[in-house]
């Protein structure tokens, strides 16, 4: 009797989750790696791994904006050209054969990033480089690179400050360019980047608190450099178990990479987010499930006037 009751309760809980689901009408992802040079191989591996995960969970390439600041797959130091691995066992080539990079190399600048978010792009920008979101869009923003207290470095030459990022998000909110945002950042002192946010409906997660470094996970001796960061490694491990139909909530995801795994403390900010993360399915941000309704009654159009 007891397990049966438990089962019913779980179902009830999950059906609750499903009711909340139809709030947004589409999903977008903005995935950014901001650092170049061979020793930052791990940042490219980070961003490509997240890219693969969201793509596997259904966000189409037309709704993923991928910014990669350097081309590790074609780097002369890469012992196996045209591949990027995120694990020393080299099971999975995250570069794959269907990666659509929207901004690459020196196109990855603070200016382009802020322009992308705020929609202030030159009129001749191709559609693949535009974030065409509306008030029904949920956006996943993932940033990785080198940062410090209050800034994230782009391309070793410039940086975006937490204030600029907060202002850009506020402009998106003012223009009704999103419904909800999940902001994820893997960099040193990462939580400093979301501290200045002041726009509603943003759930933020960072790999480390202010004053802490974010650490890398392991070296691949064949490649010779660190190949993935700790936080992203454990986040991916979690995402690998997520299926499009699985009912895992954002609260579970916010608990990934505890201190014994990450060494740094993962920071979470929920005060701007109006929903309870325990009731938000992870596919609200990492997947794409469009709300559907069946059409039963069709119009009779048999006498449409001829032109």
């Amino acid at each position: 009797m007891k397990p049966c009751l438990l089962l019913t309760l779980t179902c009830l809980h999950f059906s609750n989750v499903f009711v909340c689901q139809a709030n947004h009408s589409n999903n977008w992802a903005v995935l950014v790696d901001t650092s170049r040079f061979w020793f930052n191989y791990r940042h490219v591996a980070n961003v490509l791994s997240i890219y693969r995960s969201v793509k596997r969970l259904g966000i189409p390439d037309s709704q993923i904006i991928l910014m990669v600041a350097d081309d590790m797959a074609c780097n002369p130091r890469n012992p196996s050209p045209a591949t990027v691995y995120n694990n020393a066992d080299q099971q999975l080539n995250v570069y794959g054969d269907d990666v659509e990079v929207d901004f690459r190399g020196y196109e990855v600048t603070v200016e382009n990033f802020v322009r992308l978010l705020t929609g202030r792009l030159p009129p001749d920008t191709p559609r693949s480089k535009q974030l065409l979101t509306d008030e029904g869009s949920n956006i996943l923003i993932y940033l990785t690179g080198h940062g410090g207290d209050g800034f994230l470095k782009f391309q070793d030459s410039e940086e975006v400050t937490s204030q600029e990022l907060a202002d850009a998000l506020e402009q998106m909110w003012q223009k009704r360019r999103y419904h909800e945002i999940f902001f994820m950042i893997d960099t040193c002192q990462a939580s400093s980047m979301y501290e200045k946010f002041y726009s509603p409906n943003i759930l933020a997660m960072a790999s480390s608190l202010v004053g802490e470094d974010s650490l890398s996970h392991h070296v691949d001796p064949a490649i010779g450099v660190y190949i993935i960061d700790r936080y992203t490694f454990y986040a991916l491990k979690f995402l690998e178990n997520v299926k499009l139909k699985s009912r895992i909530s954002m609260k579970n995801f916010l608990g990934v990479c505890p201190k014994q795994d990450c060494i740094s403390t993962v920071g979470v900010r929920t005060d701007l987010f109006h929903r309870d993360p325990a009731k938000v399915p992870i596919t609200d941000f990492f997947g794409s499930v469009r709300p559907v309704e069946l059409t039963f009654n069709f119009l009779d159009i048999s006498n449409t006037p001829l032109q």
Binding site: S25, N26, G58, I59, P60, D61, S62, V110, E111, V114, R115, T118, G119, R120, L121, P122, P123, P126, R127, S128, Q130, L132, D134, E135, G136, E158, V160, T161, Q163, E164, D167, A168, E170, Q171, Q174, K175, R176, L244, K245, H274, S288, V289, R290, P291, V292, E293, L294, T295, F296, N297, F298, L299, D300, I301, S302, N303, T304, P305, L306, Q307
Partner: protein
Amino acid sequence: MDVIEKDNESSVTVKTSATNDSDEIWEIIDKEDDEDLRNLSAAVYAFILLVIGIPLWWRMTEVQRHPLPYSQISELSSMDIVIATDIFVFTKNPSDTERIIEHIYTKFNSTMFSVKAQTSTLIHSDDTFEKLETAITPLGSLQLIETTNVDSIVAGLGRNVYFPPATDISILMDSLERLLQTDALSDSMISMLNPGKHSEDAQVVAERQRRVRPSSNYNVLLTVVNPEPDKLRVSWKPEIPLNRYLQPLLNQLQLIANFSVQSQWLYLIDLIQKPVNLNGTFVLDKNQAQYIITPLEKKLGSGVSRDPCIHFVVYVTPCSFIPLYFHENNQLTTAMMSARWGGVQFLNADQIRCNESTESFIPDDLSIMSPIVTQFHSLIGVPDVSKYVLLMPHRSSTLRTWQLDSMYRLKIVEQYTNARITLTSLARLLGEISNIVIIEEVGKAVTESVEAAINVLQCLEKGQLEEALKFSKIAFETSEFAFTHPSLLALLYFPDDQKYAVYIPLFLPVMIPVLMSLKGVKKWIQLKYKI
């Protein structure tokens, strides 16, 4: 730098001339001249740098802000939308007419509508039903007609609403409210102004969430997917039915937006979800159905333009799954729709055609187009009032005149509210973020948009829907243009602390010697003019 160089030169001169005794007198004069020259040049440098240079630098690094009509923008938020609407009432009994008119006034007192109800003079009591239908009524108005030809309230094809004698007035008023869409209009406005707030009517909210986002151009893309071209040949020309059934509707909507229609064929695309066999019929239930759009979407190629795209997918059922339907609550249908995106329908071929590869399958135009037109109506925001009011059969893809009027009102409110939000948030952002640049072009667009927005309100108050629609489109487009203009960001990634970090190392080394020489210049002036 120059000053120092000159210094060296003169010291060389001093050295060489010192060897010559006769030039001693010249040397003194030279020295005097030299000091004059040196101090003069230092004074000139100081003048150029301090009096011309600094103001010029200040002016040039100033964030350019073309003046915006702030007061008018803030006025917009205090102005209410008032839509002047005529309602003509016709009954056999003048006292009934008066009573209905009175009720109309009390009902629409506190809404966006400023209703002018009056006794209809447009028709006669002995007019036939056909003649009533052809009565010419002004744009945006409605005509309530009491007639024995109907058993309940019926909305006609023009702007007539028929009701039988002895209809309960409150029911009549509710129907009138539905036809004028008071709830949908205010919901559309409230939800845009305060995200999270919305109408209490679930249907109104659902209809709003289904509508494609406001834009002045849309793409309509019809994709026919044949997953097994080797087994089944389909012979169908989508452009013929599109022209026949969809184009008249698009022509009717030309004041609202431009629609560009395209069609394409795709092959060998799998549905991914496995249909369930239900007594010989294959079904996909609603839960499975929501997972078929995303895999399809990857192949559709919406990347042709930045305008919103309305997709319609006609999926030819693979031979092994014929007949295939969507399934919900024991009901079967061939079509489903996703909000703001478009629709998908299954095209079930005859099982015989599957094996005989010689003959191709010719689908029926009408049965493909009617789901498409139905879904298109929902996606562009044609109100569904069939639950509340009986509709006179139209048998056409085009809109009834009163439906088109309410589409106009909806678009006006939507575009005007959008422009208002954009303008007020732009004005607020300029206060919050000091680095936003406003060039002349943007400033002009903002002014144009504000003027158009004010014109929208004025035209609505006069009941001129077409003009108001035109102005709302201008207001919407120019405010979008201004808000998303690339020049707004010209300085955003160059904050103040960076400004000083760049200019101080650049100018300070030059300024120090200039400022220090000012002391010498002062002494020289005092000496020269014996002050």
